[in-house]
Homo-oligomer: 701 residues x 2
């Protein structure tokens, strides 16, 4: 929090690169500070001037006699290093580098950025940028950016990896009156990133809503943690770019970042309750909605409208988004019937019909406002000839002040409805031009209010403490699968259930091992082959020694031919009769020690669901990131299709879903004990009504 304060609550600011030309970036930044009404000490830095814009000018930051909290650098790329060094000597702890031309251009730029970071570290200095727009803190009169304007003060913090999205959001904020607590463009994120800022702002009482534009998030585990572990849960809304390969390429040349897998990021957002914005407008609407709309206590929506068609379209969207149409109480129905015309519909959606004046809205909203079956009221207005748009908007605003439940107006059209829209905004009430926009925002607000913590950090207590660490260590970084016997030891350690099995090198060993466990399966060991079904390398249902002898010989021959090896390894396994085949897989995002503090990456993305021959056909998986709570794993599994089979479909017995979840928990434990596991999969995991057993585990290092 302290470091962030040097930026967001700086008592003295120097701007390096101010000139006599007010059109230059440095001068713009300096004048933005003045324009924002900054009350602290302000120093322009330029060796050629005595005074600039009514302020005494210094040649270097180190020439300033007093202490300086924050320095903003707006000089050409090649001079930045010297300025940083000068700031270090002056013991400046907070620097914003607006200048571009660093990592995002590759080669020389990247090298220069590293050098600068080296200097900063030496002086214990923190940096925002480079290649950014700057920061704005309206309440403190700080506008250390080259933005075109200073937004109003408010409860929304906006952080962005793109300066351009900052300017666009600012431009949208002006007419709609949305206020901001903090506005941060962090560009290349050489040092300070979204985690640092979130760490500060999640506990900041002025901040109720956080919006972000991100191209990547390097410290994924930390991101999930800071959102989950804050004392007061706050909505964090993210517009994430770089889902497609094509976009990932463009990101490298934009902020020099490398974006990870879209699935990992999506899973992380969902699991930690971060709200995903689908477009810039969606991001803006969500920030506005969470800032201005009251928190809903449920998801039962009552609609008041002066038009049947829009009422029906709204109903469709509500149902499609998983919200509910409120069942209006009988008392409400009677009230409405008494006052509304006969052609009106007193069922939800309540259609007060085209000739409704403001008084009918008053009655309908009041009725729904007092109806305990209604959690949220939507008022959908179309501009009919006699619609009293002004009067109606006033009535809605009064109702918004009285009722504790959210009231959300949607005004369809443009010319005729714009003054009323502005009236809502001027009063800091959200209103929408499109039904879908409104329903999308409400949906996210309801989801946010329903969110329960899906993380189970107690699982991380055993991180890196695997018993077989030493033997596993030998394989780290090889890209190879662990030998079956090592995998089996690890499985045993965490409770992954295996069939009775042994890896053998000769027929005699096989015959000896198999004698009490027929029927059996034999297959090539994992050491040898990745996809066993690619050639016929599994023999199932071998009923006796003669079956085994026949198949073993053929298998041995096939393996030798396909691999060119002279010494083979074959796995002999008891045969388990399965009612269904399942799958558990995992891929690590990030470093070997991803679960340690401030390690890079999101951790292991686990996939679990249907296995066997349809695995690649249906990709019927649930996703979760380690450490997920058991309840979350169950919730996600319930969203797969295969769960219908587990629950017992068409008269068949249900299968023990809890045993499957236990195995996923065991895999999770394995990944925490051995975070160095790069990827693994269990396919198939066989399940019948009595038990589960993993007949094929591959662990890649």
């Amino acid at each position: 929090m302290e470091v962030i304060n040097s930026f967001f609550d700086a008592k003295s600011v120097a701007v390096v690169g101010v000139s006599e030309d007010p059109g230059k970036l440095g001068s713009i930044v300096f004048n933005n500070m003045l324009d924002a009404g900054y009350k602290g000490k302000l120093y322009p830095i330029n060796p050629k001037h005595e005074e600039l814009y009514w302020h005494k000018c210094y040649a270097n930051v180190s020439d300033i006699p007093e202490h300086v909290d924050l320095v903003v650098i707006v000089v050409p790329t090649k001079f930045v290093k010297d300025v940083i060094d000068d700031c270090g000597k002056k013991a400046v702890k907070a620097v914003i580098i607006i200048t571009a031309g660093f990592k995002e251009i590759g080669g020389e730029g990247a090298k220069l950025e590293e050098e600068i970071m080296g200097i900063a570290k030496r002086y214990d200095m923190r940096i925002i940028g480079p290649n950014c727009l700057g920061i704005i803190v309206p309440d403190k009169g700080i506008n250390a950016s080259f933005a075109a304007s200073t937004p109003k003060s408010g409860n929304v913090a906006f952080l962005s990896q793109s300066g351009a999205f900052c300017t666009a959001i600012l431009d949208m904020a002006v007419p709609s009156n949305l206020g901001f607590s903090h506005f941060v463009s962090f560009g290349n994120k050489v040092d300070i990133d979204e985690i640092d800022i979130l760490n500060g702002l999640m506990e900041d009482v002025q901040v109720d809503v956080l919006g972000m534009y991100l191209e990547e998030s390097k410290y994924g585990q930390d991101l999930m943690k800071v959102v989950n572990e804050s004392k007061k849960r706050k909505p964090v809304i993210v517009l994430k770019a770089g889902q497609s390969d094509e976009a990932k390429q463009a990101i490298v040349s934009h902020t020099g970042a490398v974006a990870g897998s879209a699935e990992t990021f999506d899973t992380a957002m969902k699991q930690s309750g971060i709200i995903e914005a689908k477009s810039l407008r969606d991001l803006y609407n969500l920030m506005m909605g969470f800032s201005w709309i009251k928190s809903p206590k449920g998801k039962r929506i009552g609609i008041v409208t002066n038009a049947g068609g829009p009422g029906i379209v709204t109903t469709d969207l509500i149902v499609k988004n998983g919200l509910q149409m409120a069942k209006i109480s009988d008392i409400s129905g009677e009230k409405l019937k008494a006052v509304l015309p006969a052609t009106a519909s007193i069922h939800n959606p309540i259609d007060i019909i085209g000739d409704a004046l403001a008084d009918r809205y008053q009655v309908a909203i009041q009725t729904l406002g007092e109806d305990e079956n209604v959690d949220i009221i939507m008022v959908v207005i179309t501009p009919q000839l006699i619609t009293q748009i002004e009067e109606t908007s006033k009535i809605i605003i009064n109702a918004m002040k009285v009722y504790k439940k959210p009231i959300i107006p949607v005004l369809l059209g443009d010319k005729y409805i714009t003054p009323a829209l502005s009236r809502f905004m001027d009063n800091k009430f959200a209103a929408f031009r499109d039904i879908k926009d409104a329903v999308d925002v409400i949906t996210q607000m309801v989801k946010f209010s329903e969110y329960k913590n899906n993380q189970d950090y107690s699982l991380l207590n055993s991180r890196g403490k695997g018993k077989h660490k030493e033997v596993v260590g030998k394989y780290v970084g090889t890209g190879n699968a662990l030998p079956d016997e090592v995998a089996a030891l690890m499985a045993e350690e965490v409770g992954i259930l295996l069939p009775n099995q042994m890896a053998v090198k000769t027929l005699d060993e096989a015959v000896e091992f198999a004698k009490d466990i027929y029927p059996i399966v034999i297959k090539a060991s994992n050491k040898l082959i990745a996809h066993k079904t690619d050639f016929k390398a599994i023999y199932v249902n071998l009923k006796d020694e003669s079956d085994l002898r026949a198949s073993f010989t053929v298998l041995e021959q096939t393996i030798k031919e396909k691999t060119g090896l002279s010494e083979i390894e074959i796995l002999v396994q008891e045969m388990v009769i399965a009612d269904e085949q399942l799958f558990i897989g995992a891929n690590r995002d990030g470093e070997d020690d991803v679960y340690s503090n401030h390690s890079k990456g999101f951790g292991h993305l686990m996939l679990f669901g249907q296995g066997g021959i349809y695995t690649e056909v249906y990709h019927d998986f649930a996703y979760a990131i380690v450490p997920a709570s058991k309840a979350y794993l169950e919730e996600m599994l319930d969203k797969t299709n295969i769960v219908k089979i587990l629950n017992g479909a068409r008269g068949k017995d249900a299968l023990p879903k809890d045993k499957f979840i236990d195995q996923i928990m065991a895999v999770q434990k394995l990944l925490v004990l051995y975070p160095e596991i790069k990827s693994m999969d269990i396919n198939p995991l066989l399940i019948n009504k009595d038990k589960v057993v993993s007949v094929d585990i591959k662990i890649f290092m």
Copy 2:
């Protein structure tokens, strides 16, 4: 076309229900006609006045001495019937009933509506409405509606089942300058519906784009036909309400219509190339886009932007929507490199960076304009401090005039960019405030340009000509499945391939039939049981007579117990070894003779894809409506997951996809021969590398 002309090109119009109070609906309609500059003869009807609004007034329509083309009725509900009768006597052929209070209120209203339609039919009179806003034809000076304004003349026709959406669209059209050829609110559609109007407008040279709001479409086959069979293909955009059950209930009380299955409508739209709008804004954007944006020749998009972030977000959306990022030619790359600053990105998205003035846009747009690898140019502008928004918009407009390829500007923000947005609109060029809106519109334009006729109407030549019509006829309307032997005859007629099989009543019959075809399967006949797997009623892989005898006895017993019948029926079938199990199903929407002209309904919705035990788990089906072309069936099948198996997955043999398609074509033929089939399913249809065979056909009547 003639009937429609009586409305859209009326030379004389009478308005019934005009009064001395200009605020009354009748007076508003009359004054809207004057305001729109109507040049034909105009008659106010009111028995209490000699003259109204400078026009001679008549007591009844029949009192008018000249012929009247169109009568607009705006009197209270109870008087409408008499007015219609009077119009009939006057030989008026076209009537608009604006008055509400008919089918949408049920009971009495519905009865009155029927009576009115009876009178109209007697006089050969056509009706638009009741319960509608009226119609507007700006080019003819006709505004026979109570809308607040008359839109400009243009190439977009808008038809709506909701008057309120008409007023909203009109209100949006005013500031954005979008022009309309026709504006039709058809309310309850007692007579004239979207089919009648489309029939006229698809051939109207003034109309380039058709937008619609629909709650249902009664004559689905006709809707698909009119869109497909028009000489010049035109974009038809539909906002369809009533996807959810809750919305369907609301529809009944809105326009009294009954909405059908959402899947059927969606399939019909997709198959006939009707464009689906997802919201009111989407509908408006699509109408504007198709009206103003040049038709794309391909889907390779080049992006020019002054900001990296928005470029990346645009890239993501382009890829997500199935469009392509253009690979800029080497020559273009060289050109850009020569003029753009070093920090710019000359790869697509082309980032001319934040300090770009209008000249850089000029160069970049010109380069992409001349690059043959680029089909569509998107220009994404963020309002940076020095962005020359006015100059840039002028340059883009000039480029739009020069190049044949679409150029689509997106301006992010609000206050700063609004004047430029207006400049585009004033010049009748589309521009967008949100990247997603723009990409959504382009996507639909590309899809429209790629559309090939998916219908094969030649299939309908044999409609209703099934050889076994007589025997099938006995079951129509029973809701029962046809007996296996009847289904088998029908299957044979169209070439649905069955295994060697026979329905038997006794063990002796079974033994006799099975003697040459072991191994066999026996199961309960379709006469008895719907879901055979619900209890163990299938015995497979019976290898000889002794197997058969044992299983037959058990099966016989089970059936008797479960059904309580004394006489049973068992199907004896050769056993086919399958590599995969498939499914074909169909459900009829509409009447028994749905493929006859002007029958109600969309026809049979066919489903085909994966079968067997996972049918209900994955719902992995393609959808098509009869009559679909073979090519379309293939295209849809290719979008299922199971096609991966058919194409040969993980080293396995490919399966004969063409043979499966032939079976779907055979089912389609069956449905056309016997449109009285209510629903049917084949599950499983077994496939191996040599053949396909339907082992279980159920046909419900």
